[in-house]
Amino acid sequence: MTIVNVEDASATAAPVPELKAAEPGRRRKSHTFWVLTGLFLAATCFIMLSPFIWTIMSVTKPTNVAFVDPPVFLYQPTLTAFVDLWQTTEFYRYLGNTIVVAVISTIVALAIGLPAAYALSRVPGWISAVLLVLALVFRALPRFAVVLPMYEITKSLGIYDTTYALALALIAINQPFSIWLLRNFFAEIPPTLDEAAMIDGCSRFQVLRRVMIPLMGPGILTAGIFVFLFAFQEYLTALILTDVNAKTVPVFIATQLGQTLPMLQQAGAAAVLLTIPVIGIAFIAQKYLVAGLNAGAVKG
């Protein structure tokens, strides 16, 4: 199966190596075109990054100049806000909760979604069709329609404000979309491969475990990144289903917003601390996100 990513997309379109295929197109463009393209993209990157740049500046300022209007651009940087964040709040615990919930819900959602996606990609018919439509509809569902009842259910079961209740809710919410993504990757593996393995004596489940899953590496990684991101970003569900113990970083940052100025600066520091690993994710993920989209998720 071919997973196409940005770098080698043109290479798969034509057997010629990428650089050669692109060269004639490049030579045709004028010098001005390249300068303008470069400027436009540089400006776009700057605008997209500007909120982070400003946040980093605001949280490294001493508190007495951090909030003055007109803004101060030159200052003696300090890390007080980070120290305060660490000492006066339970940020590390919220960060732990966020990571635990995201990791658990990603693993379970994939473990449930994989076999279903495999079955859906191999068996046509109305059951598969209904399941796939449900997966699409659940992806678009207004969260409150399921999260408010979950609030009541978790309260009556006594599991309100626990990390595993939140993880369960996110598994339920994100699992349908994992089927949707994974099915497209399975669809690219020819069914003749299943048959060959079964002639060699594999059962259906062995085919899935021994043949499909090893072949699905990039697909699983792509779906995993998406599901992890959704769980990691989730604000609404965590807002409703958690209170003190299972609070996640997005909820923490939002509750800091209406408070005093030092707390606001701590929220900024928390946002910066959250952004740094996210930049890593963005750079690793870009390749796989495009791969996931290319592999047929957007066939239409």
Binding site: L49, P70, A119, L132, L274, T275, V298
Partner: protein, 289 residues
């Protein structure tokens, strides 16, 4: 595949979807027909909650605001996404770097991204945007309390946080357009503008449709972004449908679960209607495959 194997493979997923999504959904539908509070059994009131929501001018404003925001932001997203994707498709070696930078706003939790975004505009945070505007001779703008500037800021933020995804989808589509087709159009003397309009855009129709679908689905549900960006949402009429449900059904004070649930149900119906063409396509394809 044998019937039993098929059932075993889909069982965990069906159980999770049924137990954790269908049952809560059923409860929301039931609540929408009741006068009810958390933890207590409700009393059946028929369609009273629906009438209550539909006659509430605040709900009307929320629908108008949400639909207006969805249409505007989707249009901007698609146009900007197409332009940025086209340019990124031209560059070679630095592409991973540019993509990585552009993706940051998509990868960050929306509420955190929106908070960082609001600090650019917030005079409590130095107000750097107003500083730039006033030093260029513009007026001091009340981004958080004036309805239209607030709407503009929300729209900018939605575009900021969703542009990377729209751009990625379109980029994936652009890479599927065969080089020969574009070259043929060039040889036939089509100008750059015409090439885009008559050759490239029609051949990535499906991808653009998908990008529009995802944008509409996600912006109709906008909630997280408004928490930092529109603290005055109710009084200046910038409440989204989701925020309306939250304020009605959850926020402390006057919890009106029945009305909130009724609005959830109405939103589901609206989304189903909008998704109908896609649902039909998916259904046919999955059945026939």
């Amino acid at each position: 595949m044998r019937r039993r194997e098929y059932a075993a493979l889909i069982a965990p997923s069906v159980i999770v979807m049924f137990g954790f999504l269908v049952i809560p959904l059923y409860r929301t539908i039931k609540w929408s027909l009741q006068n009810v509070d958390y933890g207590h059994p409700g009393t059946f009131v028929g369609l009273q909650n629906y009438v209550g929501a539909l006659t509430d001018p605040r709900f009307g404003r929320a629908v108008l605001f949400t639909v207006g925001l969805t249409l505007t932001a989707t249009a901007v997203l698609i146009v900007l996404g197409y332009i940025v994707a086209t340019l990124i498709n031209q560059i070679g070696r630095i592409r991973p770097l540019v993509l990585g930078i552009l993706l940051i706003s998509y990868v960050l939790p929306h509420v955190v991204g929106a908070a960082a975004f609001s600090w650019l505009f917030d005079s409590n945070f130095g107000g750097v945007v107003n500083y730039i505007i006033t030093s260029l001779g513009g007026p001091e703008i009340l981004w958080f309390t004036d309805p239209w500037p607030n709407r503009l800021m929300i729209c900018l933020n939605v575009v900021w946080s969703m542009l990377p995804f729209a751009m990625l989808i379109i980029l994936a589509g652009l890479q599927g357009v065969p080089e020969e087709v574009i070259e043929a159009a060039e040889i036939d003397g089509a100008s750059s503008w015409k090439r885009h309009l008559h050759v490239i855009i029609p051949s990535i129709r499906g991808v653009l449709g998908f990008a529009i679908l995802i944008s509409i689905m996600d912006i109709l549900r906008v909630f997280d972004n408004l928490i930092p960006l529109a603290p005055q949402a109710v009084s200046i009429g910038n409440e989204s449908i989701m925020l309306y449900i939250y304020n009605e059904a959850f926020r402390e004070g006057d919890q009106n679960l029945g009305v909130g649930s009724a609005v959830s149900v109405l939103t589901i119906i609206l989304i189903l209607i909008m998704l109908f063409p896609f649902i039909r396509g998916v259904f046919r394809e999955a059945k026939a495959r």
